[in-house]
């Protein structure tokens, strides 16, 4: 699949990047991180503009996330009601879930951007619990800027050798996640003591 997507990126450049990152963030399992890495490598070779690749990636991801959020916020409960699952999502449960996200936005919204499988789920939960959009957008935007910058930086540093190093990206996110959780546990222990 990556090969086909890369052909589209070489043919249609920024609109292709936008569409791929949009649907990748929306819910489809597309390798948008690898596409950004490759596009940055093409930019290093002079085929594309690096700032435009980065900006298009961020815009596509943000648009995809926000579309998921609004779609679920508008129609999520109605669809669930039609599927006779509405009863499971009582007001108390939704309020509880929203309070948890509202309490830990960095842990839930910001860091979920780095995990392709989890980010759409967080968008759905944020939308269905009607988390204030401005609050969701702030952490979502910060998360996407960090994520896209990481992928683009890898493509920029490794250039035409991005294919050899795309295998590293899996390990990279494990380090980020483990580091984040370790910090969270240590922080919890220190602040509880005080």
């Amino acid at each position: 699949m990556l090969a086909t997507l890369l052909s589209y990126v070489l043919l249609y450049k920024y609109p292709a990047i936008f569409v791929i990152t949009f649907f990748g963030a929306f819910a489809l399992p597309l390798p948008s991180g690898s596409v950004l890495m490759a596009a940055s490598a093409f930019a290093v070779q002079g085929y594309m503009s690096f700032p435009l690749v980065l900006l298009t990636g961020i815009a596509g991801n943000m648009a995809g996330d926000s579309s998921g959020y609004w779609l679920v916020r508008r129609y999520g409960l109605k669809v669930l009601d039609k599927m006779r699952l509405g009863g499971f999502f009582s007001k108390n449960r939704l309020d509880g879930a929203r309070n948890q996200i509202d309490k830990h936005p960095i842990l839930t919204i910001y860091f979920s951007r780095f995990m392709t499988g989890i980010a759409p789920a967080v968008n759905v939960v944020s939308g269905i619990t009607r988390l204030p959009y401005k609050r969701y957008l702030l952490f979502e935007c910060l998360g996407e800027i960090t994520e896209c910058s990481c992928f683009c930086a890898i493509g920029y540093i490794f250039g035409s050798n991005w294919e050899y190093v795309s295998q590293l990206s899996g390990g990279f996110w494990v380090i980020i996640l483990a580091g984040m959780l370790t910090t969270f546990v240590i922080g919890g222990m220190i602040f509880k003591k005080r």
Binding site: A3, T4, L6, S7, L10, L11, A41, F42, V44, Q45, G46, Y47, Y156, I157, F158, G159, S160, N161, Y164, V165, Q167, L168, G171, F172, V174, I175, A178, G179, L181, T182, V185, I186, G188, M189, K192
Partner: protein, 131 residues
């Protein structure tokens, strides 16, 4: 840590166990990551100083892939568009905005054959830039 655990001793044990496990995962993943990174650096795949910049900008003919378009291949190897068109006898009107795989399908060639033909043409251009 969830507030549902009332026993402070148990809570402390769980916290420390979590910390040890997470630190272990972090250390092992860092060790593997740095090892892979070092091996790539030794093989010259990482952009170092500016004098190495061209190494990451250029690709070799063996790195040409089926998903690449002719426009991209021409740009990366600094070839005039007409060169590959004549060498590979390309009649498609979409050239150079067509991928190697798409052209291979049109010409009823396998992807491997098309890659070999293109790589050979590029190699002969890099040896003799003005054919």
């Amino acid at each position: 840590m969830p507030d549902t655990i009332k026993n402070p001793k148990l809570k402390k044990i769980i916290q420390w166990a979590l910390l040890v496990i997470l630190t272990g995962i972090l250390a092992v993943s860092l060790y593997i990551f740095v090892g892979k990174l070092e091996s790539l650096r030794l093989r010259g795949y990482i952009r170092g100083h500016f004098r190495h910049q061209t190494a990451v900008q250029k690709i070799t003919p063996d790195q040409i892939r089926g998903w690449m378009t002719f426009r991209y291949v021409n740009m990366v190897f600094g070839m005039p568009p007409a060169y590959l068109q004549n060498s590979l006898n390309i009649k498609d009107s979409h050239y150079p905005n067509i991928s190697l795989d798409a052209l291979a399908k049109q010409q009823k060639l396998s992807s491997v054959q098309m890659l070999a033909k293109t790589a050979a043409a590029v190699k002969s251009f890099t040896i003799k830039p003005n054919p």
